[in-house]
Amino acid sequence: MVEDYLPLREAVSDGLREAGFAVDVASDGVTGLWHAETSDYDAIILDLMLPQLDGLAVLKRLRQGGSKTHVIILTAKDQTEDRIRGLDAGADDYLVKPFAFKELLARVRALVRRRYGAKNPIIAVEDLAIDTTGRTVRRAGKLIELSPKEYAMLELLALRAGEVVTRTDIWEHVYELHSAAESNVVDVLIGHIRRKIEQPGTSRLLHTRRGHGYVLGGTESAGAS
């Protein structure tokens, strides 16, 4: 999130974190651009009136650099011309201040789904159903309780179902930029998720590809544990 107004930056980033997102924040355009160019984000929330480098310049430089990260502009500029300028500069969405936080959250969720080509807010992997709106997980209709981090990790795996997701990808999407990477945290969380979604009598759903990462769904191949 790139926003120079501290109270708004704090409120939105806290709310997003509570919603299970890992959030990096920047208070000026230059820092925001640096973050966006050095990390792979699912979505960027970008203010327009920023110190040092304004939001439109940040967006244009990102697009010129080939970034495909979804960007939602969050600004006080409400004129049609402003919206057109922002969307034409490469923004995927535009939200005018003040706004309802729930709306911002829904738009961010939609952008994240679009990143992985999913339009349905309920992601189904075999008999596992993840409701990204209600943030609930059910297997064979039975509700499964997950912590926010476990949910975020499972949602990422579900969005990329059938693909190998590396530990680094998982870390970047679940934890924030400045948090210290701990080598076994991802494995421990994967173990927790596996115990919760793979109850006795159910099929194996979360597979490990040794030396590569994890795959949700699909058949277990050689070398998997």
Partner: protein, 494 residues
């Protein structure tokens, strides 16, 4: 009627019609009297001529004066309808003779001098108006042998004639003149109506253009093709006025939009903070943290609203000045206390070069607002690790103050706009929302209210605000805004 006289057309028409009527009436009266005098003169000449002709028929013999018999049978004295009359008297008043038309009635016996004629109006024996000519003369003497010579007797002859035909002609003339006058007045009014309508058409066009001006587009101006010279000046002045109105409206709209825009972000912060807090039940300390955040946002908005109110009051000239003797070093030190920690945090070195015991008679509260804003501005925007220098000097008028700090990223164009409302050097706000671009604008309003001047300069990457504040606040009229070129001299101390 009174309604139509309120219009320019009505007044012009009424005025010209009245003037035409008066001129024609006056001319008619003059013509009438000129013709009357002329006709009466002709009438009198004819009457006098008839009198002298009749006098020639008066003879004297040895015993008496008499008229020749033909005189009594002349047609004008014997006709039935409006006959003429005559009568002849001896000098002693005894009658010599009279026309048959008198039928026993009498004519007034005038007594002019010898060979003189008197003309006068009278009421004739039949009651009709008339005029008579009286001539006193000596008739010709003729003896029995027919020999003639000058007579010895003096007689007076009076001939009277009806004036009805003359009066009828004059009455006809009067009616003709009145009719011509009325017709001419009506025709003149009609012509004037056409002329006035045509003449006032540019004015009507102007009224229509003025009425339409600015309805759709404030930039629209009044243009009239072939406008008369008198209106060209009016149109030019009107367009100048519209220029000023447009500038004011644009400024007001921009200001309102800026206010709305500046309030959106803190409102968004407030709403998001509350929304996020309300997503689930929380521990008491989390609610306390949220309340503290909301409090900070509200205080930031409060500061902005206060600045806006102060600016609005300054604009409306509603601020009052309370003059006190202010010790500048103490006031500066007091203000600096609020910014000292922020300056340390940004590793800014503060240099105060203020003459001790520098005092000024001014409004301490207004000066405090200025000092707080300038110190805040310097601490917030000075290059990190740089310095802030405050110079205070006594001057002949009062004091001179100079606030300077390095600001390498600031451009000359930005400095030119730094006193504009809602202007921010980098088009953004700082973390707590207190810097919304009103501070320097408010400083200028306050300093001008105190009768001083304020200017900003940029030289070698150093931004400097210079204030010249007179002793004894003398009101806003003393304040003047300077151009950037003029600022160079003011900023010399920086």
């Amino acid at each position: 009627m009174s309604g139509s006289l309120k219009t320019l057309r009505g007044r012009l028409l009424a005025g010209t019609a009245l003037a035409t009527a008066l001129i024609l009436a006056g001319a008619g009266v003059l013509v009438y009297f000129f013709v009357r005098i002329s006709l009466v003169g002709e009438f009198d000449a004819a009457l006098e001529s008839a009198t002298r002709a009749l006098a020639a028929l008066t003879e004297q013999d040895e015993s008496k004066v008499s008229l020749e018999p033909d005189a009594f049978n002349l047609a004008e004295f014997t006709r039935r309808n409006a006959p003429d009359y005559f009568a002849v008297w001896n000098a002693d008043g005894s009658a010599v003779g009279e026309s048959k038309s008198l039928a026993g009635a009498a004519l007034p016996h005038a007594a002019p001098a010898l060979n003189q004629t008197i003309l006068e109006s009278l009421r004739l024996p039949d009651g009709a108006p008339g005029r008579q000519a009286s001539l006193t003369f000596v008739p010709i003497y003729e003896d029995a042998a027919g020999k003639t010579g000058p007579g010895t007797r003096i007689v007076t002859l009076t001939v009277a004639r009806h004036t009805a035909p003359l009066d009828a002609r004059l009455a006809g003339l009067a009616w003709l003149l009145a009719g011509v006058g009325i017709a001419a007045t009506g025709a003149a009014a009609g012509v004037m109506l056409w002329v006035v309508r045509r003449g006032l058409r540019p004015l009507e066009q102007l009224a229509a253009r003025i009425s339409a001006a600015g309805r759709k587009n404030l930039g629209e101006r009044v243009e009239i093709s072939d406008a008369p010279g008198e209106l060209t000046t009016v149109v030019a002045r009107l367009n100048e006025l519209l220029d000023r109105v447009e500038m004011t409206v644009i400024r007001e709209r921009r200001f309102t939009a800026d206010v709305a825009h500046e309030l959106r972000t803190p409102l968004a912060g407030l709403e998001a903070t509350i929304d996020v807090c309300a997503t689930r039940r929380r521990m008491p300390e989390e609610y306390e943290r949220t309340l503290a955040r909301c409090g900070r946002i509200v205080r930031g908005m409060h500061a902005m609203v206060e600045n806006l109110m102060a600016l609005a009051r300054a604009d409306a000239r509603q601020l009052t000045i309370s003059v006190l003797s202010v010790e500048l070093p103490a006031l500066l030190e007091d203000c600096w206390g609020a910014f000292e920690s922020a300056a340390k945090e940004r590793e800014l070195a503060a240099v105060f070069q203020v003459d001790s015991e520098t005092r000024i008679d001014t409004d301490a509260d207004k000066l405090r607002i200025v000092l707080n804003n300038l110190l805040d501005n310097a601490v917030t925007h000075a290059d990190p690790g740089g310095w802030i220098r405050i110079i205070g000097r006594r001057s002949d008028r009062g004091i001179g103050l100079h606030f300077s700090n390095p600001a390498r990223k600031l451009t000359l164009e930005q400095v030119q706009r730094c006193f504009d409302r809602f202007w921010r050097g980098d088009a953004a706000r700082t973390g707590n929302g207190a810097h919304c671009g009103l501070g320097l604008s408010l400083c200028r309003e306050m300093i001008e209210l105190l009768g001083g001047t304020i200017a900003a300069t940029l030289e070698d990457g150093v931004f400097c605000v210079s204030i010249d504040l007179p002793n004894q606040a003398c009101g806003s009229s003393g304040g003047q805004r300077r151009s950037l070129a003029e600022n160079a001299a003011v900023g010399a101390e920086c």
